[in-house]
C-alpha cells in the first residue's frame, strides 16, 4: 500500500476540499479495508479530530457520528436500548474487540461492503445518513445509489421506535465474513426483512415484507411462506465460501425464525 500524504483535516469543509484535489485522495475511516486490499492512495484524509466520534440523542432519534468506532457503537446504552439490542448485536459479530476498536460505523456504511454486518443490522429500521456538503439520504437510498457519492458521511440517524429486532450471521469460523446474514424486525406492527452477503450488499426483501404485512392473522406457516418469497425474490450467487443453493436454503430457515422471534 502506497500513500503519499497523511492529511489531518481541520474541518469537514477542509476534508471535502482535500478530497476534491485528487481522485486518489480518500477519507480514512478506520483504514482496515484499504489495508486488506492494499489500496494505493495519494492522500489519506483523517477526520479523527472533527468530533465525529460521538453518539447523542434527540427526542426522536439516536445520532451516531460517522467516526464512532464499532466497539463504542455496540457498547452505547443508546444503541443497546434500540430494538432489543439487535443492532448492537449485529456489530458485535464483526471480528474481535481489537478490530472493532479501529473500525468505524461510517466506514462500514460508506464502503457498501457486501459482507457488512453493520449495514445488514441497520437496514430494517428508519436510518438516515447526513452528508457534507449538506445532503440527506435514507440508508436504503444510499445502497441503491449508482456510482460513487462525492460527499463525506457526517452522521447516521436512527429513528427511535418501539419494536423488536433479530439478527443472524452465518459464518464458517468466529472471525469470518458472513456466508449470509439476516436482520428481521417488527416495528409499529410492520415487519421488515433484510438479507445480506448473498454475497451482495444487504437488501430488503420487499415482496416478502408486503406478503406478511398484508395478513391480518399470521400463523407459523406464513413465516415460512414469507421466507420462501425472500429466497425467491432476491438474487444469490456462488462464491468460495458458499454455494448459491446453500444461501437460499439458509434464507428459508433464518427468515422464518427471525419473523417468529420478532413476533414474540
Amino acid at each position: 500500500m502506497k500513500v503519499n500524504e497523511y492529511y489531518r483535516a481541520s474541518s469537514i469543509e477542509d476534508a471535502y476540499l482535500k478530497l476534491q484535489e485528487n481522485p486518489k485522495n480518500v477519507i480514512l475511516a478506520g483504514g482496515l479495508w484499504i489495508k486488506k486490499i492494499g489500496q494505493d492512495c495519494n492522500a489519506l484524509v483523517d477526520l479523527s479530530t472533527l468530533g465525529l466520534n460521538k453518539i447523542s440523542e434527540t427526542k426522536d432519534e439516536v445520532i451516531v457520528g460517522s467516526m464512532v468506532t464499532q466497539r463504542d457503537f455496540e457498547n452505547s446504552p443508546l444503541i443497546r436500548s434500540l430494538f432489543n439490542d439487535s443492532i448492537a448485536f449485529a456489530v458485535r459479530e464483526v471480528m474481535g474487540v481489537n478490530f472493532r476498536n479501529i473500525a468505524t460505523v461510517g466506514g462500514s456504511i460508506m464502503g457498501r461492503y457486501p459482507f457488512s454486518d453493520v449495514i445488514c443490522g441497520l437496514l430494517p429500521y428508519h436510518v438516515t445518513l447526513e452528508f457534507y456538503p449538506k445532503q440527506t439520504m435514507s440508508l436504503e437510498e444510499y445502497l441503491e445509489y449508482k456510482g460513487k457519492l462525492n460527499a463525506i458521511l457526517v452522521s447516521i440517524h436512527i429513528k427511535k421506535e418501539k419494536g423488536r429486532g433479530f439478527f443472524k450471521k452465518v459464518k464458517i469460523t468466529a472471525l469470518d465474513f458472513p456466508i449470509v446474514n439476516f436482520a428481521v424486525s417488527k416495528v409499529n406492527g410492520k415487519y421488515s426483512i433484510v438479507v445480506g452477503a448473498r454475497p451482495m450488499v444487504a437488501a430488503l426483501a420487499k415482496k416478502a415484507m408486503e406478503y406478511i404485512n398484508s395478513l391480518s392473522k399470521i400463523s407459523e406457516l406464513d413465516y415460512k411462506k414469507a421466507a420462501e418469497i425472500a429466497a425467491e425474490e432476491l438474487s444469490y450467487l456462488d462464491n468460495k465460501d458458499s454455494s448459491k443453493e446453500y444461501r437460499i436454503d439458509l434464507t428459508k430457515v433464518y427468515v422464518a425464525r427471525g419473523l417468529k422471534e420478532v413476533s414474540k
Binding site: L28, D46, V97, I102
Partner: protein, 149 residues
C-alpha cells in the same frame, strides 16, 4: 513524516512513511515484543493498547496515533508476569507467539469489565488466535486470573 506519541508513558517521536503501520514502526525502533502474525487484521498477535483500548497494531496507521498513549507488554510487566503464571498453570503456554497480544487484551478486559460472563470473556478474546491450542486452557487461565485465585 514525524509522529509524536507516548510509548509506555515516555514521549517519543518517530519518522515514518505516511502509509506505515504501527507494528512496523515499533519494530523498526527496536520494540520487538510486538509480534506480527497474520498481518491481515485477524489473528490479534500484534495487539497493543491505544489510550487503554486493545487494537491491532498491524492495521493501525502510525500517523493516526499522534498524541496518543501506547502501551506494549513492557508497560504492564507486573500484570504480564501474573497472567503468564496463570497460563502456565493451565498449560496454555505453548509456542508463546500469541502470548504478548493475549496478555494485553486480558489486561484490557480486566480494566473494562468488573465481573465478565463467560460469553463476555469469549467475545473479548475472540480476536486473539492461538495456533497451538484450542483456547479452553486460555479461558480457564483467564477466569482464574480475573478471580485472583
Amino acid at each position: 513524516m514525524l509522529v509524536t506519541f507516548y510509548l509506555n508513558d515516555v514521549e517519543v517521536t518517530y519518522n515514518v512513511r505516511p502509509g506505515e503501520y504501527l507494528a512496523e514502526s515499533l519494530r523498526n525502533h527496536g520494540v520487538k515484543s510486538v509480534k506480527v502474525g497474520c498481518n491481515e487484521s485477524t489473528c490479534g498477535s500484534c495487539t497493543l493498547l491505544v489510550d487503554g483500548k486493545p487494537m491491532m497494531s498491524c492495521s493501525l496507521l502510525t500517523a493516526s496515533i499522534e498524541g496518543k498513549h501506547i502501551i506494549t507488554i513492557e508497560g504492564i510487566q507486573e500484570e504480564a508476569a501474573k497472567i503468564s503464571t496463570y497460563f502456565a498453570k493451565q498449560g496454555a503456554d505453548q509456542c508463546g507467539f500469541c502470548n504478548v497480544g493475549f496478555a494485553l487484551v486480558i489486561y484490557a478486559l480486566k480494566k473494562e469489565y468488573k465481573d465478565p460472563t463467560t460469553e463476555e470473556i469469549k467475545n473479548y478474546i475472540v480476536g486473539n488466535l492461538c495456533r497451538c491450542s484450542g483456547l479452553q486452557s486460555h479461558l480457564k487461565a483467564i477466569k482464574a486470573y480475573l478471580k485472583g485465585e
